[in-house]
Symmetry: C2
Subunit: 115 residues, 2 copies
């Protein structure tokens, strides 16, 4: 379940703006806010089944956008390369690792991978 | 004009898969293949005005996707940080710059910025 939540959060971060307001709101409440279907149903004054359908449709759309565009996958590859570059620099002996040029580069790479 | 072509090529690279086949084909022929409206009109057996409208609509959609998602802008910011990190490492004195750890890190960052 955690994997699914993280996956949806990742897709939502990239493509959420292409969903309808209601799909966005439901996904946010359920996956980011951890609200139950019953709580969301009450908020929207609809049935639990309706909430279930909205969530399912939203998830499906996010997956379809990624299948077409692949921008999350592309971003992951970039992050993997940046993480490798960081590891390589971290492995430098102290006299090189602690130079201001290296420290600055590591800082920049750190910001990219730790968002 | 070159700026416009580069901008459309960039947006197309990210969001092209969300356009229709015809929009994609027209944009490719016109902006990547450098075909004239008349040549594309002949290929598709439509008027030049129709080609003009398809191109305009395709460009508009690409701009709308970027306005909503901002993924090209986000990617540019990442690239700017990576370019800075590279420059910082390039400025290391030779004994640090030429260590295999630094060379490997620079290689990885290079691949990310030079695609």
């Amino acid at each position: 379940m955690l994997d699914k939540v993280l996956r949806i959060a990742e897709l939502y971060d990239f493509y959420g703006a292409l969903l309808t307001d209601k799909q966005r709101r439901c996904l946010e409440m359920h996956y980011l806010g951890d609200d139950s279907l019953a709580e969301i149903a009450e908020e929207f004054q609809v049935s639990r089944q309706a909430v279930h359908d909205i969530l399912r449709r939203g998830e499906q759309l996010l997956a379809e956008y990624e299948a077409k565009l692949g921008l999350v996958a592309r971003h992951r590859l970039d992050l993997a390369a940046i993480t490798q570059a960081r590891a390589s620099l971290e492995a430098l002996p102290p006299e090189s690792r602690n130079r201001p040029e290296t420290v600055r580069a590591l800082e920049l790479l750190h910001q990219l991978t730790d968002r």
